[in-house]
């Protein structure tokens, strides 16, 4: 895929994502009802849950592309894995800052070392390690392979993070959408707002993911050009 096409895709997804975000803001601040027990602070939920979803999606893509890279050794898979991991770290940072802000009000403390919070933080640090390994490896190819393994292992934490609230019930609220027994337990307006948030954040992620992938594409082109320069002169 050419760089121009990647940029075009990023622009289209970005425009759709920004439109989604504007609709989300309108829904969150003008339309959706205020939750009775938690009040206004519950509106953090509409940025916290979509960022958590995108974090899992991004780390999942990193693992899939990393596993495929280990098998096929196609550089484009490594670019995709790296781009998704960077997105996962950013959206993970949003999740890990918005959650404690809500908790500071709802629980009276921003952080407790309960299973879901601890596992999520651990997963985020595993993906920090993904970049540290890449940056510190003397052999670049070996670094890429080690990072791919870390990506695959790190993504194993995703299902564990999800089921941690079911297996070890603690302070963190139970799932309100992916509830196997009862189905979604949210009010209709809250569910619509949440779904809009999920869609908007996913579009924004894929838009910036394309840009980041384009950056790796450009790096590759520059490296190729530099390699061919001495031959040309």
């Amino acid at each position: 895929m050419s760089l121009a096409r990647i940029r075009w895709m990023a622009t289209v997804l970005g425009v759709l994502g920004v439109a989604g975000v504007l609709v989300l803001h309108w829904l969150v601040f003008f339309w959706v009802g205020t939750e009775r027990t938690m009040g206004i602070v519950q509106r953090i939920f509409y940025v916290h849950v979509p960022s958590a979803w995108v974090t899992f999606l991004a780390f999942g893509i990193t693992a899939l592309c990393g596993a495929a890279y280990l098998w096929l050794r196609d550089e484009r898979l490594d670019w995709a894995a790296q781009s998704a991991a960077e997105g996962g770290l950013i959206f993970g940072a949003i999740m890990l800052t918005s959650g404690p802000l809500w908790a500071a009000y709802a629980w009276g403390t921003p952080w407790t070392w309960e299973p879901r919070l601890t596992l999520t933080l651990l997963m985020w640090f595993v993906f920090v390690g993904y970049f540290l390994v890449r940056a510190s490896a003397e052999d670049r190819q070996a670094g890429k392979r080690m990072a791919a393994v870390i990506g695959v292992l790190g993504a194993l934490l995703i299902p564990l993070v999800h089921v941690s609230v079911l297996w070890f019930p603690s302070l963190h609220p139970q799932p309100v959408v992916l509830n196997v027994e009862e189905g979604p337990t949210l009010d209709g307006d809250m569910l619509i707002t949440l779904m809009t948030g999920l869609l908007a954040f996913t579009l924004i992620f894929f838009s910036v993911f394309c840009l980041r992938y384009g950056l790796e594409h450009l790096r590759y082109q520059r490296a190729l050009a530099l390699r061919e320069q001495p031959r040309a002169t």
């Binding site: 601040f29 206004i40 953090i44 950013i90 809500w102 520059r222």
Partner: protein
């Protein structure tokens, strides 16, 4: 290719202003009586959560843009040389 290059400072201030503007209707929605009983603390939490989210996303986008521009300029420099 001529790229749109917004100034990071202006965009960040604009993002904060939009977040603040969007937070204002919340106060109106709850009503003054309830507001009198509550502190403004939850409003600040909501504002900070949304502002941080957009700051992190914008920061990521600017970082990619900066790295891309650096590569493009480097490439042009090499080409000129």
């Amino acid at each position: 290719m001529h790229m749109f290059r917004p100034r990071p400072g202006i965009v960040l201030v604009a993002a904060l202003a939009v977040s603040l503007a969007f937070s204002a209707p919340l106060i109106a929605q709850v009503g003054t009586e309830v507001l009198a009983q509550q502190s403004l603390r939850p409003y600040w939490y909501v504002f900070i959560a949304y502002a941080l989210a957009w700051l992190l996303l914008l920061g990521w986008m600017f970082s990619i843009g900066r790295r891309m521009r650096g590569l493009e300029e480097e490439g042009t420099g090499n080409h000129d040389a």
